[in-house]
């Protein structure tokens, strides 16, 4: 199974309507300074130009159980975009 291949991480997420969707994790990282964890995932949706949409969520583990949260802070969001920019240039 492709999804089970080492190197490709899949995860199942629960949508608002309760439906469960399997998505591919592109990246998961945390900032060393504030220990905030993020997961970047995709449903492999492509637009007419072939661009792939990826979603960014903050992972909150403060209550023990992990929770996906939105990225509300603009500075935080800019930092994430910087990371993605750099990684997108990787060879």
């Amino acid at each position: 199974m492709d999804n089970q291949e080492v190197g490709k991480k899949m995860m199942s997420i629960v949508a608002d309507d309760g439906s469960i969707e399997e998505v591919e994790v592109i990246l998961a990282f945390e900032f060393k300074d504030n220990k905030k964890e993020y997961v970047i995932y995709t449903k492999n949706e492509k637009d007419e130009n072939g661009n792939v949409t990826v979603y960014v969520s903050n992972v909150d583990r403060s209550s023990g159980e992990p929770k996906l949260m939105g990225v509300e802070d603009e500075d935080e969001w800019n930092r994430i975009k910087d990371v993605l920019r750099e990684l997108s240039k990787a060879e």
Binding site: K9, V14, I20, I26, E30, F31, P66, D82
Partner: protein
């Protein structure tokens, strides 16, 4: 990884499964080469992590297999765990954690209790297989070492597809469980005792009796337009009851409220329960309410509450972000485009003002006050309530007076109309008779003269409709 240091990040690969997607979710669009690059970075990280973890696991397993314990290490006091068991458990947990990590990295779902269950299993295997050897210590014979780590799939969940199917089937149960857990509250709800509430009511009645008559109609409108409930005070108002009756109604309603509150307080705290909401009435007729339910109820009916300002969160921040090199750094001149769907606050305000327009001083609105009495708990609540009740009564009386005056005026106008109509009829009839007799025989002259007199009368009455017959004749 060079990226990690340069960007101040650490790649992680922790368990993330079946998590609820947040409402405000940011997204970015990658061009395919950028997407693949980012993806590859992480793939490399994961491969490296897997190799590293496998190496660590092998090392831990080797040291676990070679553990040795003297008979003394197995001795323990009452209720204590032996030194050997502690040591075995520590090593077993370490192995279980590494196995769990490896499974996660390999995308194999594991149960949340994988580590503890697996560690116990390893410890039991170790104790079962340990033998007293020629060196006077307990250890695992070579022939048994291979079986120590068997059955490590026991705590691994089936394939992801099966998991998703199972989870889908369980969604209804999960939702039910979540709904039930929302009702579980340990909070103690403090309610004022009956005496203090009664005292407050009496004090407030005395203090505000004079002020009651001075509430403006605008204030009443301001309060009532936010309410749309019914109750006993409204009925009392409808029947034009006196001030004493209103007080009594208020007092009774407050007492009823206190009875419910005291029952809640009597149980010292809100009971932990998980029954559905429609099963909340106790055998003795008291209610069990969670703080959420009370707050919600109170919010709906609390008379002084200002309309809530609704803050609308960003429902979606769909950021289109081209990560091709030629666009990087051009975000200030159109490289980045954000589309934020936020409902303007004005729209919400408009909705609420529409609600206000629908308000009328009907009996339902007046009765709304009574329901609010049920919820009145504090001195301020009672005071506000009394003021509202009095103002409402005054407003209603004014309205009734206005209506009465209008009715009288209408009746008066109707009478005048009828009189004028009758006179006009008389005029018409006299005129017709006059025409028919005009130019005929002289014997009819007498009748003509009478008709002429009637004609004059009718014409005069048209000019002076308010004058009576006598005054016309006199003229």
């Amino acid at each position: 990884m060079p990226y990690e240091d340069a960007l101040g990040i650490e790649f992680v690969d922790r368990d993330l499964n079946l998590l609820q997607v947040p409402k405000s979710l940011r997204s970015i669009r990658f061009k395919m080469p950028s997407f693949l690059n980012s993806s590859k970075v992480y793939e490399k990280f994961r491969e490296m992590q897997i190799a590293r973890t496998e190496k660590k696991l092998e090392k831990s397993k080797d040291s676990f297999k070679d553990l040795e314990f003297s008979p003394r290490d197995f001795s323990k006091g009452m209720g204590e765990i032996s030194t050997a068991e502690k040591e075995i458990m520590k090593e077993a947990k370490n192995i279980a954690r590494l196995e769990e990590k490896l499974n996660i990295l390999k995308n194999i779902p594991v149960s949340p209790k994988f580590v503890s269950n697996r560690a116990i299993k390893l410890k039991d295997n170790m104790i079962k297989n340990a033998r007293f050897n020629s060196h006077n210590v307990y250890s695992i014979p070579d022939e048994n070492k291979g079986s120590l780590f068997s059955n490590n799939t026991e705590y691994i969940i089936d394939s992801p597809d099966k998991i998703i199917a199972e989870e889908t089937n369980n969604t209804a149960n999960e939702v039910k469980k979540m709904m039930e857990s929302k009702n579980i509250r340990d909070d103690i709800i403090v309610v004022p005792d009956r005496e203090s509430v009664q005292k407050t009511i009496n004090d407030e009645f005395a203090k505000h009796e004079d002020n009651i008559r001075n509430i403006s109609a605008e204030e009443v409108a301001d309060v009532v337009e936010k309410e749309n409930l019914k109750g006993e005070i409204g009925e009392a108002m409808e029947n034009n009851v006196n001030e004493e009756q209103i007080k009594r109604a208020v007092s009774e309603a407050v007492n009823d409220r206190m009875r419910v509150s005291q029952n809640a307080a009597g149980s010292a705290k809100i009971e932990r329960y998980s029954e559905p909401a429609n099963d909340m009435i106790n055998e003795d007729g008291t209610y069990r309410l969670t703080r959420d339910q009370i707050d919600e109820d109170f919010r709906k009916t609390y008379i002084n509450e200002r309309p809530e300002e609704v803050k609308v969160e960003k429902s979606s921040n769909d950021v289109e972000f081209e990560l091709e090199e030629d666009l990087i750094g051009k975000k200030d001149n159109g490289g980045a485009k954000e589309m934020i769907n936020v409902i303007p606050f004005e729209e919400i305000k408009d909705e609420s003002s529409k609600e206000a327009v629908h308000f009328d001083y009907d009996d339902d609105s007046i009765q709304a006050i009574t329901k609010a009495v049920d919820k009145a708990e504090t001195k301020d609540d009672i005071q506000a309530l009394l003021e509202r009740v009095s103002a409402l009564k005054r407003k209603q009386t004014e309205s009734k007076m206005k209506a009465l005056r209008a009715k009288e005026k209408a009746e008066e106008s109707e009478t005048m109309k009828e009189q004028a109509k009758a006179r006009l009829e008389a005029y018409k009839s006299a005129l017709e008779e006059d025409i028919s007799y005009n130019g005929e025989s002289a014997e009819k002259d007498t009748k003509t003269a009478e008709n002429n007199e009637r004609l004059i009368e009718a014409m005069l009455s048209m000019i002076h409709p308010e004058a009576d017959e006598e005054s016309i004749r006199t003229k």
